[in-house]
Structures are given as C-alpha cells and as structure tokens.
Amino acid sequence: MFAALHIPDFPVVAAMRACPAMQDSPCAVLEIKATKDPQEKLPLLSINPAARAAGIHVGWPLNRALVRCPDLRVLTRDLPAEATLRDQLVHLGDSLTPDVEITAEDAVVLDLSSRKTPDFSTPFEVEIWQARALTPDLAHLAARHQSTRGKTISPSDLMPLPLAILASFVQKSGSLALLDLWGLKTLGDFMKLPRQALIERLGPEMGRWHDLLHGKTCRLLRLHRPPESFGQVFDFDDGVISLDPVIFALKRLLHTLSGRLASRHLAASRLDFRLVLESGAEMARRVRLPEPQTAVEGMLAPLQTLLESLRLEAPVISLQLDAETTFATAAQREWFGRQLPQPERWAETLAKLEALLGSGRVGIPVPAESFAPDTFTLHPAAEAAVIGKSFLPDCPVPLHRFRPAREISVAYETRGRQPWPLALLNGPHPGEIIARRGPFPASGSWWESTDAWQRLEWDLQVASGHLIRLVFQTPDRWQVEGIYR
C-alpha cells in the first residue's frame, strides 16, 4: 500500500505564507518562463480558492482574470518559500515512514508496505490532501483531486477524474494535447481505449500510462535521501580565550573531514569556518583552497594563518566547519604549463594578506571597463592566474594617487562656462599654477539618478615644480587626485 501527500495550489500557497493577511483575498501566481515572443502573455500558474470562487481558472491570461476579478492580487512566485514548504512536506513524510519519494514539486509518496497505516491527522501549516492506493502512481493521482482525497482507491475510482491530472506525470505536453484533441475528458475515457491500438498510434509510453491507470504496474519508489553534509560543530565546555585550543579542535575536525573525504574519493575545494563567541556574535571566514585538498596540513595552514590574525572581542564557545567538495585532482601536470609548485604556500600567503587587509580585499586589480576615475575590479587571486589583456594607460607618467582624493581650495576664474584654476591655495603642494594641460572633461552613469558623475581634470605644474592632477566637480569642489612622479 502506498500513500501520497499533496499540497494543492502549491506555488500560491507558498507565496501567500509571507503575507497571511491575504488568505481570504483572491490571489494568483504568474508563470515564469523565458519567452522569445514579446507578445506572448504569461498565464496564471496557480490560484487560491478565493480566486477560484471568483470564476478564474489556472492557465488564463492575466488580463482575462483581472476582468473577472479586478481585486485579484498577483503575487510574485517565491521559489525559496516553495523550497521551504517542500522541505516541510518531505519532513512530514519522513516522520510517517522512512521510505519517501518526492514525486512532484508539491507531492510525496510514502511506501506503507512495511508498516501500519500511519496517522495522517498530524497538523500541518497548510492544507494537505492524501490518498492511498496499491500502487504509488495511483495514490499520487488520487491525492491530487478533491473527490478522491482521504480515500483508499482502486483503479475504477480514478475514472471520473479529469484527464488533465496526468499532467503531473508527463514531461512532454504534446501527448496530453493530442488526447485533448481526441476529446478525452476523464481518465476513464483514456482507460477505455484499447491498449494495443494506443501503443500502435502513440508509442509505448501510452501503454505505460494505460497500465499504470489500470493498476497493472507497481514501480519502486525513488527514495529520498537527504544530501550528505560535511558540516561539523565543536562546542567548547568553557569559553576559550587562547588560540591553541581552537587550533586543536580545528585539527580534530579536519582529521574527521579528511577521513570522510578520502572515503568518498572527494577533496575539499573551499572551507567555511565560523566561530561563535560568548557574546552571541559570530565570526565567519571562507577560504578557497588553490587546489582541492584532502591533507589535514594543506587545509589547516590557511585556516591557522587566519586564526592567528584574529583579535576577538569575547571568548569562543563553539567552532563550526563545513567544506565544499569536488573530485580530487586527477589531471596530469602539464610539462610546459606554469603551475604553482606549492599551492598550499600560495594559499597561506593569500590568507595572510587577507588577514592583514580584510576579507575581499585581496586579488588582482584590473582596470575596469569604464571611464569612471580610478575604477578597477579585483579578480580572485587564486583563480585569475592569467590576465590576458594588456592595458595602455592614458598617461604614461606614473601617478601617485591619493585615496581618497584630497579636498583643497583653488583660486580660479570662469572662462566660458568652465572654471579655470589659477593657484592652489592649500593642500599638499600649494602655489601658483605655472603650466597646465586640460581641462579633460569626463562624465558617465548619467542614467543613474544618484550615481551620475561629471568632472573636469587638469594636469598642473605648480610653482614648487610638482606635477599635480587637479579635479573639479560641480558645484564647487576641488580635489588633488594625485602627484605625478
């Protein structure tokens, strides 16, 4: 015997959990699909009972639904909420039997052959329909319709059910469309067709459906097994204030991790570790390993470097470690390719730098594809081994940039509609301007209401002989951006 659990109107139910006040309002979720035809109207994917009561049906275009029900609330499909709800449904199934199959997004099938019929009256946050049958597929179909829910059904009970219910099984919609063209309205209409003639016309898949509906086949469930996690937690009895116990605990966790990785022929490509402090605060770091590792030393070194650089506000009460895994490197080293001879040392160096500079501040800077001043992007140091493109600077003389640029006062006059600097009144090198190039106007991001920028730049020589880059920004802001060396 099999039982199926199904959450009706799953997408809209999941989306509505975020806004319980709308429970009684008609609500709908629109289908999300990448369409090339800009004229194609997105149909309603799911509606709640209130919307159904207003005469709306799933599959209708939105404008048609709005004509029937102007109060219809269109909700955005909430995929994370759907995942949470699905997890809860699976959890419910797990609590009833260990043999659970996730048959569809909104349904699970339970194998009850080895145990008594469980109690389905467990309270659940949303409405759940359940049905039982001798095969998993019959149970699944029965649980999807209001008239058969809560029942133990035989194939003949399914006959009045609408044919569209098969859509939850079928990957290709073409077959169902053809059955619709044939005028078949119910599962019974389909079941009455001669099996051999069906197979001759539409292929063996139709025969499988036919057998399935007649309860002639009983497949094995594809049992749900939760994904394996390498996450470990080490709780300290007392708050730790020195590094050694943490390193010691970390080593233990890494030994365990290493063993588990080795037994699965995997390697760690990234380590996530988190320290929970007595104050309740948490400190998390992520270390990407330059090469997939299983060796404890290889994994410990960068973590230890990071830990040594930490200055914490409170004692550590717990240590958590998790790893992202990949297959261990099986590639042969290239003869002519330059590779890191000791990747672990490189990782350690990067970890030291990151400890010094802060998270996310280590990498290879590359000039950004933008005219905005002093912009660059940081390529991860562990990944961007080769930057193929060469960059020619606009000005060949090296500029010592001030970051941030220094605000100064400038004596200037207005020529045309532009300011014309005459002397720097303060700043690092005040004095009269004796030579200048510019102005070099630049502007960009004009489409952003807040980030639009516009500036005038000059290269100046002041009386002291220094070469300076001066910037003017509206309305009256002068900055020294740097000094040419």
Binding site: P38, N63, W447, S449
Partner: protein, 1039 residues
C-alpha cells in the same frame, strides 16, 4: 574678426545607431552657430543628404555631400564629393558595396573629384596609432594617398578633451608633416547639442547589444562630440590655425551640393531602343491620346478635343510627354498580361490619362480641374499612381520595370522606419536594463493619441500617464527612460521599402542615388524616401497594390471560367440594386464603403448616384471628421441645415458639395479665390498639406494665407472657417479625382456583391488578409446572402476557394493554416481519386502535424470509412507501413466520441480562423436558453429609447482620435452586426473588459439616429459567460 570654420565630418541619425540627431537638426544647429557649410557624412550612404540639403537651403547654408566608407579592418573614414563627377563615383561605389558586399571595390581614376579625410579614432590612421603601431598608420595613410591622390587626403585632428588626444594628435601631425598632407580640424560630431549625447550612448548600447551598465568604454567618455561654434573650434585649435583654415579652404573647394544633382527622367524610346526627341515624343503621345479618345468617346466632341489640345500643349511645354508615354507603356504591359489596373490620384483630372487608359474617370464629363494635376506654375513632375492587384500580378509589373530599365536604372523608393512608441520604449527600456516584461506591459497599455503627434509637452504628459501604472514615479531610472523615450521617438531605425513607389532613369540611377538590395529578392531600393526623392526632383511612379483589385480580378476570372465573362468597363453606373444595397449599408466586404463608420453613414447619406458614392468615399476620412464636416454635409443634404458657401467667391467652388469643402481641389481653389493665391502658391499649399513630416511648412503657408485674406479684407470668421478646413485636410486630404477613382472600384465591388455574390466572396476569401473584416465575418455575411459555404475537403476542395454554383462556395485547402501539401493533394487527386485514408496518406505524405490539421479541420471526413473528425484523428495516428501491398485497415475504429458543434467550431477556428458552421452566438443562445438577450436583427424593429441587453462577438473596436475618447464596437451575432456606442466615461471604467474580451453582453439604451440606424448607447458591459474564448475571430481594433 569672425571665426570661420566648416565641419566636414558630421554624422546624423541616418548613420543608423551612431548619430543621434536628425540631419535637419544638425543643419539648423550649424546655421545657428554661424557655419557657412557642413558636410553630413553618414555611414555607407547618402541617407540623410537629401534632408540635409533641403534644410540647408531653408537655412541659407551649404550642405556638402559625403559618406563614411568602411575598410575591411573595421576602420572607417569620410569621403567628400568635390564635384558632380565625384558624387556619381561615390554613389556608384556605395551601390557596389551594397549590392556586391563580398567583393572588393576600389575607385578608378578619381582625379580631384573625391576628397578623403582620415577619420576619427575609428579611422584607418588613428586605430593603429592608438595601438602604438606607427608603421601601420603610415601604410594606411599611403594607401589613402594612392587611392585618392596626394592633394585629396586631409589628416583630421580632433580635440575631444581626452587625455591621450595630445599624444595622438602629435603623432598625426608628425605623419602629416612626413607625408606633406594638410591638417584639418574637426569635431566629428555625432549630435547637434551636448544633451543628445545620452541618445548616442543608448544607440551605442543597441549597436553592441549591451545594456548601459555593461557598456563601459563603448560609451562616450564625455559629451564633447557635438557641433561646436567656429569660435570654440578656433579656440580649441588656437595652436594649429592652419587646421581651421583648411576647413574653410576645403569647403570652398567643394563646389558640389545636391542642388546640382543631374537627374533626368528617361526619354521614351522607339522600338530599337533609341530615345526619341521631345517633339517626336509629343507627336507619339498625341497619336496615342487621340486613338484612345476615339475608343473612349467614340466621336470626340469639341470640348474633348479642346481639352486634349490644351493638355498636350502643356505637356509639351513642360517637357513631360516621355513620362506619359512611359506610364502608358506600363499600363499597356499590364493590360497585355490581363492585369487589372487603374490610375488614381490627381492623374484622373487629365483627359490624356483617360484617353490613354491610365485612369478610368472621364474628367471632361466630371468637370475635373486639370490644373490640379499639371500646371505651368508647378515645378515638380506630375504624380501618377496606378493601382494593380496586390501580390504576384503587381510583382510582374515591377519586375517588368526592372527588366526594361536595367537593375542599375530602376529601384523602389525607401521607406524610413522610425521609432514609434512601442519600439522606442522596448529598446530604450532594454538599454536601461529593465526586464522585457516592463516593455510588454507598456505595449499592452492603452496608447494615447498624443504619443507621437502632439507637441513635446503633450508627449511627455502622455508618456507619464502611460507609465504611471507600470513604474513608480520614484524609480531611479524613470527620468532617464523618459528622456531617452522622448528623444528617440521619430528617429530613423532602419530603411524599408515603399509600398509601390518606383523611380527610373536611363543614364544610371546608381549615379544619382546609391541603391541597395531590398529584403524582397529581385528588388533594389534607393537610399531616399519618397519625399526626399520629390524634393530632389526625382520622378516617382507609384505602382500600388490593391487587395480589392486582386479579389475582383479573381472574381472575374472565376466568372470567365464558368463561361459567363464580365467586362467591368461595361457595367451600368446607375444600377438601382447597387444603390439600394448602399442605402441598406449592406456593404461588408466591399471597397472603401465597408468600414464601421461608412456603414453608419450610408443610411444617412443614402447615395443615389455615382457622384454621391464618390462623396461617400471622401467623407469618411480623418480630415473631414477633424474639420467637423461630416454632419454639415449630411445635414445640408437632408435639408436640416441651410447651405453656406463660406464666402461669395467660394460659391461656384463649393456648390457641388453643398458648401462644404470635401476635396483638395476645392481647398486650393478657395485659397486662390478668397486669398488671391497664385497657382504656384496654391501648389505650395498642396505640398504643405501632402508633406506629413513638417508642421512648420504648413504653419508658414497658413500664416501666408491668413495674411493675404486680411489684405483682401476677408472677415475673421470666414478666415477661421477656411483655415480650419485647410487644417483638417493637412493629413488626409482627398483630391476629387482620387475619390472618383476609388468610387469606381467601390461601385464595381458593390455591383459584384449584388449580382455575383458567389464570385465576389470567393475572390475576397482568396485574397485575405485585406479589408476590414475577417474571413469568418465574410462567411457569416455570405450566409446572410443565401450563399452556402461548404467546408474544406480533401476530396472536393481545390487549393483556393472555388465557386460550385451561383449559391455555393467550397473553401480551399489554403484555408488550413500550416498545410503545405495542398498542391500535392490536388495533383494526386487529379491523377486518380483517393479511395481511402490510407491511399490518401500514402500518396500525399502529409507530416504528422498536417495529418492532424486535416483531420481536425474535417477535411478528411469525406473519405470512405472516416465518419467524423475524431475518427479521422484516431486513424491518422496509425503509422503507415511501407509494405508492398496497399495497406488496409481492419477492425473497429470508432473509439472516440464525435465532436460536438461547439468543439467543431473551436477546431475550425484553430485550424482555419473561421468556420462554416453555426455562429458561436447561436450555440451560446441554445445552451443558455435565455430570451432576455436580444439579437442584432431584433434591434431593427425596436423603438428609440428603450433599455435593452444585447450580446455578441466583437469584430471591430474603434476609438479614433477624432471621437473625443468615445469608443465604437461592432458586435456580430448569428443575425448580423449591431453597433455599440460606449461613452468615454464608460470606456474608461470598462477599458480592461473592452480591450481584453472577445464576447460581450452589453446593457444600454437603443438609439435611432439619422438614417434610422439602431445604435446601442452602452451603460454597462460584461464579458459573456459560458462561451469559449477560442470561438472568437480576429477583431479589427484601433483603440
């Protein structure tokens, strides 16, 4: 001293997706800044040159001609035409590049006719210099010198305020000095003013298929690439005065502008291809005209002879006999091939055109004004538009012209496709990174009529109204979107081809304007649109396609096949049955008088003569409606209002239209009579009215008209009336002769509908899409005229819909959408009849989709052992075994239920878009059993003012700009068509229902207006419950 500078390297928006200002804007800005001349050097063509030339003439400066040429390495540089020969060379060169894109084209013997500039940072010199490759730059410069000659290459210097400008320019100066080339200052502007830089950035994104956020260095670093004043340029190049000076010297050296375009319409040639002299052409034209007049009139009376002589003399004086002979030759070619054709437009005012058979209206009998067509005051060529049956027959004529004059001597005129609200929003929102769904919602939101045509302020308000429901006003990018949307509206997007305008030349059209391949194979298109061509004095012949002519030709052909040929020229023009039908407004499917507005007007107008029909054709036009002229005419005609001819001088002019100016000739003659306009001034007025793209031109003429009327002491009231009537004609004015030409076709189509409805409907159905109504509505109308329409059958149908007898049609296999084996079905059936479904499938080999389509449409039902559509659907799924023996099927095949009437209807609409079965409303009425809801025919017998409820299928929704926000719906049911009037307020309340639904139930008050036509004044409207939306046919919507 006043600074002198000429910009010789400027782009306009016709360098598609590069420049962001219209050529006219560039020229006007240049004039404002004090330029003497400017060269618009658009990419790969002279696209914007004609417009620039026209604008420059108005501004009193010179528009120099040039184009930017692409090099194989992706660089490009401008080339200027120094002389007419240079223009010809470059035009031919551009044509070669467009027509033979895979070949390498070089110039030969350029002399000093073309001048090359080295271009901007994308030029052949700057590109290698920016990559620090000086030898490559030197080679490129030497290549240019080799191509154009040493004295004809200038090294361009730009200062756009970039850091590396100095380094680049130093290298360019070194190179110029090494090769002894002159320097030339330029700003290479992409837009007229600094603010247009934003659109240029957006275009850069579209060019590279990137949003602004990702475009990075593909965008402009600053807004400096705009037209700068000579003073600014002089200051910028103060250290290089010779670079500024050279611009002036070079512009003075260039003597050529489009003023010197040497276009000549071809002379008519004798049988051996030798062109005839003007006198010979006139003699030949006279011979043809008199021969034709004898055929038309029998014995020519004095009036006809006098008119012929008058016209022939003027044609000779103006040098146009060749033009008439060439058009005559085209018409003769069409006649020889049995292709129906008829001239329209002002040509119908000419007795010579009538005699030659170009037009079908007798201008002498009709008292039409020849001067409207041709006068000595007019500088431009006569305009003869000829209608041909649309489709293959017209293509035959077009290909004949290409063949006769040669591929490089004939081309279609272009049609500049511009950004309209939907495309503007879609592309600009994409550039700004909005998801496509925002553009979808904008497209489906109700447009405002101020979107395009109104002044900028109105357009901005309309945009704000429309966007309010889509984006919140606080959206950070809304301001940018609004700016870009407004800026791009009306900008050229790409070049299409005009529907029928052809230009010909006998000495190389490719030397007059560059040609390029059209999207249709076998056609070429010039780079100018019809207005540009007219401005440049290039003669256009319009070979237009008219669906109704094709339908009528097909109807006549069916009639001939059935052994009862008809000659349309001989049908009586005063058939009472035709006028009775017109008075009944039973005109669905006919030409010009079938629209909802025409149907509403016909019972009021009650046409009794052919001229009444011409007025009916002219009266329902946006022009007269804007001018509030429909009701005055009808009121006067029905005696409700006294006749007022505005001014005593207009009495003679307006008498025939009861004092209401309905035709363009009347407006022109009023201007001549009341304001004392000369013929040339009247022609200027006509051109202003015809030129849709310039409000300014119209404003200038109107001001002149007002001034002249004031001078002649015409009262202000009369002035206002005359100005108002001219304003209303500005967009859609009809010449009287044109109305009469159309009325001829309208009359013929009505006559066919009255006397030969089977052929008439067959012709219409076979030439869809055309006209106002869907095939389903035509079928319903045919049924109401006792025509039986048989469904598609693979045993009985031909490819096209055919007439079986005077009261029966058989739909053709081409009605099934997506069926590609129609020809094979007919050819196999001709070999031997199909004996079974297996036989059919084994001989025709339709694919799986086609088999289902045929079965679903019921086209297989007539085969043995196929009882109904579902049975056919079941049987066609059985794969055919390729056995030696003819396959045979045994066993029980009736497993599926037959389709209900509603299912059959759905299947018909899905497969054919129309059904021969019952109207969906009849099925709905049977199902619902309600008697509360009235039918269209019930309205005919009900009195004015009673509340009613009516339901039906919307076949037409209209909310014309002239209707002040009110909406009209034609609601079809099994008995006919009912007219609904939805007041503005109700429309606003029910907009969603009206625009989204196909079937309505409407509650309202029955009104009987003039002509006793019932109209439902709608108070409320709901979607009709219990009906399948897929039973709806295509609706003709304009809202």
């Amino acid at each position: 001293m006043k600074a002198k500078f000429s910009e010789l390297h400027a782009y306009s928006a016709f360098s598609f997706l590069l420049g962001s200002s219209q050529p006219e804007t560039m020229i006007r800005r240049a004039a404002e800044l004090g330029y003497d001349s400017i060269a618009i050097t658009d990419r790969a063509g002279f696209y914007g040159s004609a417009r620039a030339h026209h604008a420059a003439k108005e501004c009193g400066i010179r528009a120099l001609v040039g184009s930017t040429l692409d090099m194989p390495d992706g660089s490009y540089f401008p080339v200027l035409c120094a002389s007419r020969d240079g223009y010809r060379m470059l035009s031919r060169h551009l044509t070669d590049r467009h027509l033979l894109p895979h070949e390498i084209h070089d110039f030969a013997a350029i002399g000093s006719h073309l001048i090359a500039l080295t271009g901007d940072r994308n030029g052949p010199l700057c590109k290698p210099l920016l990559a620090n490759d000086r030898p490559a730059a030197l080679l490129a410069a030497e290549h240019l010198i080799q191509l154009f000659g040493h004295g004809n290459v200038y090294v361009e210097i730009h200062r756009h305020g970039l850091r590396d400008d100095g380094r680049l320019n130093r290298q360019l100066i070194d190179l110029a000095s090494h090769l002894r080339l002159p320097l030339l200052a330029s700003n290479a502007p992409l837009h007229a003013t600094r603010s247009e830089r934003r659109l240029a950035d957006a275009f850069a994104c579209l060019r590279h298929h990137l949003p602004l956020d990702q475009a990075g260095r593909l965008l402009a670093p600053n807004g400096e690439r705009h037209l700068k004043s000579p003073q600014e340029m002089s200051a910028l190049f103060a250290d290089l005065p010779e670079a500024i000076h050279h611009t002036q010297r070079l512009s003075e050296r260039i003597g050529f502008t489009l003023e010197n375009l040497d276009y000549r319409f071809p002379d008519f040639s004798d049988g051996q291809g030798n062109p005839l002299s003007l006198t010979e052409q006139t003699t030949l034209l006279r011979r043809h005209a008199y021969a034709g007049a004898s055929r038309r009139y029998g014995i020519c009376n004095k009036k006809v002879k006098d008119q012929l002589e008058h016209e022939l003399a003027m044609i000779h004086r103006l040098g146009f006999p060749g033009y008439f002979l060439i058009v005559d030759d085209l018409v003769e070619f069409a006649r020889g091939r049995g292709i129906l054709c008829q001239g329209r437009g002002s040509a119908a005012n000419s007795v010579v055109c009538y005699a030659l058979g170009i037009t079908a209206v007798d201008p002498v009998g009709g008292g039409l004004l020849f001067e409207r067509f041709l006068s000595e005051n007019r500088k431009s060529w006569p305009d003869i538009d000829i209608d041909f049956p649309s489709g293959e027959r017209r293509e035959e004529v077009i290909q004949h012209v290409f063949k006769k004059y040669g591929a490089r001597n004939a081309a279609m005129t272009a049609n500049v496709i511009t950004y309209r609200p939907k495309s503007a929003f879609r592309e600009m929102s994409k550039v700004l990174g909005f998801p496509p769904s925002v553009a979808d919602r904008f497209s489906t939101s109700a447009p405002s009529f101020r979107d395009e045509d109104g002044p900028p302020k109105d357009r901005a308000e309309a945009f704000e109204e429309r966007i309010a429901s889509i984006l919140p006003p606080s959206h950070p990018r809304l301001a940018a979107l609004s700016h870009l949307y407004q800026a791009v509206l009306g900008m050229p997007r790409h070049l299409g081809q005009h529907s029928g305008g052809m230009i010909v030349c006998d000495h190389g059209l490719d030397a007059v304007v560059p040609l390029q391949a059209a999207t249709m194979p076998g056609r070429t298109v010039v780079q100018w649109d019809k207005d540009d061509c007219e401005d440049m004095g290039i003669v256009k012949i319009d070979l237009l396609g008219l669906g109704m002519l094709a339908a009528m030709e097909h109807a006549l052909e069916i009639r001939s096949r059935r052994g009862q040929p008809i000659d349309l020229a001989t049908i009586p023009k005063d058939d009472p049955a035709v006028f009775e039908m017109l008075c009944r407004a039973d005109t669905v499917g006919t030409f010009q008088v079938e629209s909802r507005a025409q149907i509403a007007t016909l019972p009021i107008m009650r046409p009794q003569t052919f001229y009444d029909l011409a007025i009916e054709v002219a009266i329902i036009r946006p022009g007269p409606i804007v001018g509030d002229l429909v009701h005055p005419y009808l009121n006067r005609r029905n005696g409700y209002e006294p006749i007022d001819c505005i001014h005593p001088d207009c009495e003679e002019i307006l008498k025939r239209t009861l004092g209401v100016p309905l035709f363009q000739e009347q407006v022109l003659r009023m201007a001549m009579a009341v304001a004392g306009f000369t013929g040339a001034e009247a022609d200027e007025l006509r051109r202003a009215m015809a030129c849709k793209r310039s409000d300014e031109r119209m404003e200038r003429v109107t001001a002149k008209l007002r001034l002249r009327m004031t001078e002649r002491a015409v009262s202000t009231v009369v002035q206002e009336k005359i100005i108002a009537s001219i304003g209303s004609f500005a967009l859609y004015g009809f010449p009287e002769s044109h109305a009469i030409s159309f009325a001829l076709i309208a009359y013929a189509s009505c006559w066919l509908k009255v006397h030969h409805p089977a052929e008439f409907y067959a012709g219409l159905i076979n030439h869809q899409p055309m006209g106002f109504y869907s095939v389903n509505t035509l079928i319903q109308d045919a049924k109401r005229h006792d025509i039986r329409i048989k469904p598609v059958s693979c045993l009985w149908s031909n490819v096209l819909t055919e007439v079986e007898n005077d009261h029966t049609l058989r739909l053709g296999l081409n009605r099934i959408k997506g069926l590609l084996v129609a020809d094979r079905i007919v050819s196999e059936r001709e070999k031997s009849p199909f004996t079974s479904l297996e036989d059919f499938i084994s001989r025709v080999w339709p694919n799986a989709k086609e088999k289902r389509l045929l079965a679903q449409a019921g086209a297989l039902n007539d085969l043995p052992r196929v009882g109904h559509r579902r049975q056919a659907l079941w049987q066609v799924e059985l794969p055919l075994r390729d056995d030696l023996l003819i396959p045979s099927r045994t066993g029980e095949d009736d497993h599926l239920p037959s389709m209900s009437a509603a299912e059959r209807l759905s299947a018909d609409f899905i497969t054919q878009g129309a059904s021969t079965g019952p109207h969906p409303m009849r099925l709905w009425r049977e199902r619902s059993g309600t008697r509360r809801v009235l039918r269209a025919s019930d309205l005919l017998n009900l009195p004015h003012g009673i509340p009613i409820t009516i339901a039906g299928m919307a076949i037409c929704r209209q909310r014309p700009s002239t209707a002040k926000g009110h909406c009209f719906i034609s609601l079809e049911d099994e008995t006919g068509i009912a007219n609904l009037f939805i007041p503005k307020k109700t429309f606003c309340r029910l907009r969603q229902v009206i625009t989204s639904e196909s079937f309505f139930v409407a509650e309202g008050i029955l009104q009987r207006s003039e002509g006793d036509q019932p109209t439902v004044y709608v108070l409320h409207l709901d979607p009709l419950a219990g009906i399948e939306p897929e039973h709806a046919t295509r609706s003709h919507d304009f809202h």
